[in-house]
């Protein structure tokens, strides 16, 4: 299949690659760039394990083509911490025991960080609704809610520079 050249900025780094037009973003990230943080749980847009940020929007990368990202800025969980300092959502998930097997976690973190930009001071119901595109089979969500609340508090106290 003829390949197409794309350039995508991933976690701040410009990547130029020739990809098949049918290559999914999740496979581009995982197999081409070796960024294996985002996972595949369903390939049908239901589980959210593959969630990444594309130009500031949460995207399920299992149903998004790599060629759609030509010229875009993509952030994955590997790009969430800032120079070794954990993002508030990463800290929140750790402190509030918001993860068990960890498989949903990268997608959860990417969604949570974006959600808190959309809604910096959410109610519990808003968190549950805002995170409802991401499934977790282990935690029962209660501690994920707490983790997002923790991050919201932290971000409000010290707004990111």
């Amino acid at each position: 299949m003829a390949k197409k050249l794309i350039s995508v900025t991933v976690n701040g780094k410009l990547e130029e690659r020739a990809v098949e037009p049918r290559t999914l973003l999740i496979h581009f990230l995982r197999e081409e760039l070796n960024l294996t943080g985002a996972h595949i749980g369903c390939e049908t847009s239901h589980c959210g394990a593959c969630t990444v940020d594309v130009d500031g929007v949460s995207v399920k990368s299992c149903t998004h083509l790599a060629v759609q990202c030509d010229g875009a800025h993509v952030t994955t969980v590997e790009g969430l911490a800032n120079k070794g300092v954990l993002h508030a959502v990463q800290e929140g998930f750790y402190k509030e025991h918001g993860l068990q097997c960890g498989f949903c976690t990268p997608g959860m973190l990417m969604r949570a960080s974006n959600f808190l930009k959309e809604n910096p001071n959410p109610s519990e119901d808003e968190i549950r609704m805002g995170m409802s595109g991401n499934l977790c089979r282990c935690t029962g969500y209660q501690n994920i809610v707490k983790a997002v609340q923790y991050a919201a508090r932290k971000l409000q106290e010290a707004p990111a520079a």
Binding site: E43, T44, H46, Q90, T105, M131, C138
Partner: protein, 803 residues
């Protein structure tokens, strides 16, 4: 020595040992995208495998044409059963004493059965090639209902078993019959029923469901033809068992097989079995001499690997007029699908289902389970439970409610009257299990007080009295006893290997440590909690204790993590290995302090000379000495291995209460409140326990309220994507209230019993009881799960309660 000695309680706190809500050691890698799951593994020269699957549930394979697939650039091989035949690998033994097709041999027995594999350069080409393989089938009549399967003229499903009148578990009475297994004393139960004034019975179907962890199954098999060594990274809850089976199947000596379970994205029983995909990837790697990766997709996962439940149960209770249970009889027809691939201890084809006398003192009991073949996928795993305990608890809790309703006794009161009393422990049930410890009455009262049970019942009565109420209110109350920690090797084995588990601990010269176990965490947090046990036993901070599992080349042999066996069995092995080290350390400390061992006291992290706090040696001091200059006659080093064969199972218990409000117009059920009290004995890490309970309750909620695997008459599975198969989101999931009591296990070295499955086992009948209770005033004693809005609305219609 004039330095101020740090007080013992401060030193103890700094260890972060048993009882501390220590934050998890494994989290750092997961929150930064640095986990290492099977699909993250990439080896040089690695090829990708995909599977051609049957679109029909029963049929003969007339022809397979590989040409078009092989013509695709980048395709290396297409293999069918005929290719595996010379290697005798087209069939494989199951853990349940049956055989299962690796690739369909002349016939397919269920939809999505593995028919052929393709190996290609990448997963896209492999998927193209799988599409391009042409298979022609001749359809055969399909059997979906296990009762139909047993009719005299039912189609013969397993032609390979023709003439076999007995199987691994006794005589076969019909061509689709697998086994009939009995426990208890039928004559005694019959006598109890004959003499009893009250008898109730209830039929119920526990639907077929799937554990559906977020990560599907898969492996990377890598055979090194020069060294003759096979390494396989695999999503397995039991890597050592996999190594033994792979060696048996492949003929590669066990010493040259290395199985690694890296990070596992949830298991819940789905990752206990040994699936055709694994075997095929291994064969392909051996044949091609290159690493081969196979990762199933979600549809394959739900359709073909490891269903759970599918028990059609008839329960009967005999009782006195005032509700004292005298006898229990249970008959089960178990739908095992096309091959008997249940993952149970070898001697127990229905697992530990005979825990079905529950938390109650029942003098006479009998159960009989009949396993049947149908045209569905094989499996029958313990979905977040210990070997059919979920089915057992569901059965007895439903029956006790049915009896309470018949006698018009409150559902809490009937439990009080029948509970095994504290002073009866250790208690031997009518099925022969010796319950180690329990204290049910205070736990029940604690829950009833916490929710103000009388007020709830009063509110319900008022609601029922109001014909215009838009909702029905139901209260579900369940008291469950689990049986976990399989198990004593005199009773439990897998393929002949006793179900012990193991631990090896090495203390390094500078006082830090590494420990390895035969189990494997899939989210339970072993790397955190196991270190806490060692910290308390040996006085080393848990922070400097590395825990490693899952690599058969480094970890001691163990049977793995499922059936809540890690803490009961491996946790005990850890404590026992630590105690061996402790005994040696005491000798070394005595030598260093120039006193006799009997003059030493152990305090938190040190041996001290009795009566003189200033004279002590910490475990770190001892470790240095052990490597530097051990006392004469003692080997250098400080390490130990322990294989722990538990003397008994452990019996965690709990009391759960759920309040639901059902919308009479839509059938939607709102979980207003769920209160879960668990008693898992000694609590190692309360934070992790609570997390496990939240997760188990959520999985139980999914099963009770939405999960099922429906089949049409042609054997098509109608719900095998996450679109159709219910996994609750944060929105549907209720908020959980948790509570606990502590009744340690008397036979476990640290008194722990295991916890992570209790909330699944206990919550399912609780949700169910709550929904049924909402209908109890119109005489309903039972409704089958799942309680989707549509099904509940149908029940409302049927009983003239819909508005």
């Amino acid at each position: 020595m004039s330095a101020v000695i740090q007080p013992a309680d401060e030193r103890e706190a700094s260890l972060a040992g048993i009882g501390v809500s220590r934050l998890r050691k494994e989290d750092a890698r997961f929150i930064q995208g640095k986990g290492n799951y099977v699909d993250d593994i990439k080896l040089p020269g690695m090829l990708h495998m995909d599977i051609v699957r049957s679109p029909i549930a029963h049929g003969r394979i007339k022809r397979i044409n590989k040409e078009a697939a092989l013509a695709i650039p980048g395709v290396h091989a297409v293999l069918t059963a005929d290719d595996l035949k010379p290697l005798k690998l087209h069939w494989m033994p199951t853990l349940a004493g049956d055989v299962a097709a690796v690739l369909a041999d002349e016939k397919v027995h269920f939809q999505m059965q593995e028919v052929a594999i393709v190996i290609a350069d990448d997963r896209y080409i492999a998927a193209d090639a799988a599409e391009a393989v042409e298979v022609e089938y001749e359809e055969l009549p399909v059997v979906i209902d296990p009762y139909d399967a047993l009719l005299p003229d039912a189609p013969v499903l397993r032609e390979d078993l023709a003439g076999k009148t007995s199987g691994a578990h006794g005589p076969r009475e019909h061509h689709n019959h697998i086994f009939t297994w009995d426990a208890g004393d039928l004559a005694a139960a019959d006598a109890a029923f004959a003499a009893a004034p009250i008898k109730v019975e209830q039929h119920m179907h526990y639907p077929r469901v799937h554990p559906c962890p977020l990560e599907t199954c898969g492996c990377v098999a890598s055979f090194d033809p020069i060294r003759g060594e096979l390494t396989t990274y695999i999503t397995s809850q039991a890597p050592h068992v996999v190594r033994t089976v792979v060696s048996m199947l492949s003929g590669v000596p066990e010493s040259k097989v290395r199985i690694v379970s890296p990070d596992i994205g949830g298991g819940f029983g789905n990752k206990v079995g040994i699936y055709p995909g694994y075997v095929c990837a291994i064969v392909a790697s051996i044949v091609l001499g290159r690493p081969v990766k196979w990762i199933e997709d979600r549809i394959e996962n739900i359709s073909s690997t490891a269903f759970a439940r599918d028990y059609h149960m008839d329960g009967q209770l005999a009782a006195t007029e005032d509700g004292k249970i005298l006898g229990l009889k249970v008959n089960v027809v178990a739908d095992h699908g096309a091959f008997d691939a249940c993952a149970d201890p070898t001697k127990f084809p229905a697992g530990l289902f005979h825990i079905c006398s529950g938390s109650y003192d029942i003098a006479a009991a009998h159960c009989s389970v009949k396993g049947v073949y149908t045209n569905k996928a094989p499996g029958g795993v313990a979905y977040r439970c210990s070997f059919r305990v979920t089915e057992a608890v569901y059965l007895i809790e439903r029956m006790v409610d049915v009896l309470a309703q018949r006698l018009n006794i409150d559902k809490a009161e009937i439990r009080r009257r029948n509970f095994i009393r504290k002073e009866q422990f250790p208690y031997t049930s009518a099925f022969g299990f010796e319950y180690d410890s329990g204290d049910y009455h205070p736990a029940l009262e604690k829950v009833l007080d916490a929710v103000d049970y009388p007020a709830l019942r009063a509110e319900q009565a008022a609601r029922r009295a109001d014909p215009n109420s838009p909702t029905l209110m139901g209260i579900g109350l369940v008291s469950f006893t689990e049986i976990v920690g399989a198990g004593p090797s005199k009773m439990c084995d897998i393929l002949g290997v006793g179900m012990f588990d193991s631990c090896e601990i090495r203390i390094h010269p500078t006082g830090s440590a590494i420990a390895r176990m035969g189990t494997i965490t899939q989210g339970q947090g072993h790397q955190t909690t196991y270190a806490q046990i060692i910290a308390t036993e040996l006085g080393i901070p848990s922070e400097v204790i590395q825990v490693e599992e899952g690599d058969t080349s480094t970890a001691p042999y163990g049977l793995g993590t499922y059936g809540s066996r890690s803490t009961p069995v491996a946790g005990a092995a850890i404590a026992m290995a630590a105690r061996k080290i402790h005994a040696k350390a005491r000798k070394i400390a005595a030598h260093m302090l120039e006193v006799s061992e009997s003059d030493l006291d152990w305090e938190v992290d040190r041996f001290k000379v009795r009566g003189d706090d200033s004279k002590f040696k910490t475990m770190a001091d001892v470790a240095w000495q052990a490597y530097h200059q051990p006392p004469a006659g003692l080997e250098p080093g400080l390490e130990a291995v322990h294989y722990y064969d538990p003397p008994n199972f452990t019996f965690p218990f709990g009391i759960y209460l759920c309040v639901v409000d059902i919308d009479r117009a839509t059938g939607e059920t709102k979980i207003r409140r769920f209160y879960a009290l668990d008693d898992c004995g000694t609590r190692i890490n309360p934070m992790i326990i609570e997390g496990q309970i939240h997760g188990g309750l959520t999985e139980g909620f999914a099963v009770a309220m939405g999960q099922q695997m429906p089949f049409d008459a042609q054997g098509n599975l109608l719900g095998n994507t996450l679109m159709d198969y219910f996994l609750p989101t944060a929105v549907e999931t209720p908020k959980w209230e948790t509570d606990y009591t502590v009744t340690p296990s008397p036979h476990h070295p640290i008194g722990a019993k295991g916890v992570a499955e209790s909330p699944h086992v206990g919550s399912i009948p609780t949700f169910n009881a709550a929904v049924v209770d909402a209908f109890a005033h119109v005489g309903v004693t039972h409704l089958d799960m799942p309680h989707t809005a549509f099904r509940v609305w149908q029940a409302l219609k049927a009983h003239n309660l819909a508005i």
